[in-house]
Symmetry: C2
Subunit: 144 residues, 2 copies
């Protein structure tokens, strides 16, 4: 029960943007959909180029960049660290800690299938705890 996979907790929709999108346009996309990241995709080759996050845009604001013109290709995060949807949740969590990241694109057979965020994992903690309590309760009763 504790060895659940990323597929069970990830957000199954992911926004993608072209590398020429401006920081301001990405900020509007984030605000509109209440998200904190998007995967940067080459519109022609469909290659996954990297990820653009709130923190990335924040650093542009901090550096005094012109938010209305600076394009995501100049500040996207690379390489794209990702997991397959079959990955165990605790391994994905360890990967995020290792790289100090808050979002993991989920890629299956080269196809972007979801996004795993620290919020998804936080939502998972009460469920995990309930499962453990139930198991403890069953073990105490002597059921299999």
């Amino acid at each position: 029960m504790i060895e659940q996979s990323v597929a069970q907790v990830m957000t199954p929709s992911v926004r993608t943007v072209a590398p020429e999108t401006t920081a301001c346009a990405v900020a509007r996309l984030f605000a509109e959909h209440d998200i904190g990241s998007a995967v940067v995709v080459d519109p022609e080759t469909k290659e996954l180029l990297g990820i653009v996050t709130e923190s990335g845009i924040m650093k542009q604001v901090a550096a005094g960049a012109d938010i209305g013109t600076v394009q995501v290709k100049t500040f996207l995060s690379q390489p794209l660290i990702s997991v397959p949807s079959t990955e165990e949740i605790h391994r994905a969590a360890a990967l995020m800690k290792e790289h100090s990241i808050q979002r993991l694109p989920v890629i299956d057979d080269g196809e972007l299938t979801g996004m795993l965020t620290t919020s998804d994992l936080t939502d998972y903690i009460p469920r995990l705890r309930n499962t453990i309590r139930r198991n403890q309760h069953q073990a105490a009763k002597g059921s299999p």
Copy 2:
């Protein structure tokens, strides 16, 4: 072992800013310290007024606000949702889910003592899983 408290996983340092701080200055603070939020405190009364986050600044960027002059008091998140450091982790996680937030200031006896983020909780998952595995192993061996 699974009923651990917020004190064991929170980040014990919290940045505070005055309500007159500009969005740009906060963005610089975030970039400099690699953080995503700060608590807004009245410098005279020491009252905790709210929280300013990356998402809050992102929404200002999206709305085309002048980042160099707009002050955090105009867009901080209120009311300040917080937990004491003695709160159980799964309850804090449930509270974050309930309010769709990623940061929880930790307040003990009116004093700001830390910040709990979804990243702190993500870091906790592999530890939680190891504890469970160890308990299962001990149970299988028949130790107490």
